[in-house]
Amino acid sequence: MDYTELTTEPIDITSVARRVVPPECGATVTLDGYARRFTKDKQTGETRETEYLVYEAYEPMAIREMQKLVEQVKSEFEIANVGIVHRLGKLEIGETSVVISVAAPHRRAAFAACEWLIKELKRTVPIWKKEVFADGEVWVEGDSQAPAL
């Protein structure tokens, strides 16, 4: 019941969350990341208004990397199932870009695993975000180095 998907369609958070629930579980923690209108520049402190986003992936590798994260998180946390869905293509402000749902018998593991997954996804999964402003656009470069080889 784990799954990792890329989609160009809008993401329904509830359905992502519910697909990971086995009957011995009592809690699902879901991270819903979405296109934000205002972004503060880390260097200048200025706030920029985003008009829309475009996400692009190296699709087969992105799926492989997401599947690796699922395997790893299940070996390290006491959780039942994991769902990861990342949207690609053009996203309007407020639309969900990524949903990560973790179901577990106990909520503590679900929180820890979900937080670990989004951190690692942002570090290792080959997906890129383009921010489009009124006066230009930029491919965002992540903070991270290449994952350890």
Binding site: Y58, V98, I118, K122, I127, W128, K129, E141, G142, L149
Partner: protein, 79 residues
């Protein structure tokens, strides 16, 4: 030998292409491919590039084999 080089996001914009077939000598590495491409596309060297070979992250000094797929991209920014 020939290798396929894939570009995404910023690197695709810089090179003006998403996929190139490249002839390389037998001792070619991902790093030597980047050096070769940077002659035509000097802006490529401005990015801190990550490398994947056959859909796996790889070291720049890995020796390439004929027909392999090399992807060159900037630090990922999904999520």
């Amino acid at each position: 030998m020939k290798v396929t080089v894939l570009f995404f996001g910023a690197t695709a914009d810089t090179v003006g292409s998403r996929e190139l077939e490249i002839r390389a000598d037998e001792a070619a590495t991902a790093k030597s491919i980047i050096d070769q491409l940077s002659k035509d596309h000097p802006a490529l060297a401005k990015h801190k590039l990550l490398i994947a070979i056959n859909e796996e992250y790889a070291d720049p000094d890995t020796l390439l084999k004929d027909g392999e797929e090399v992807a060159l991209f900037t630090a990922v920014s999904g999520g």
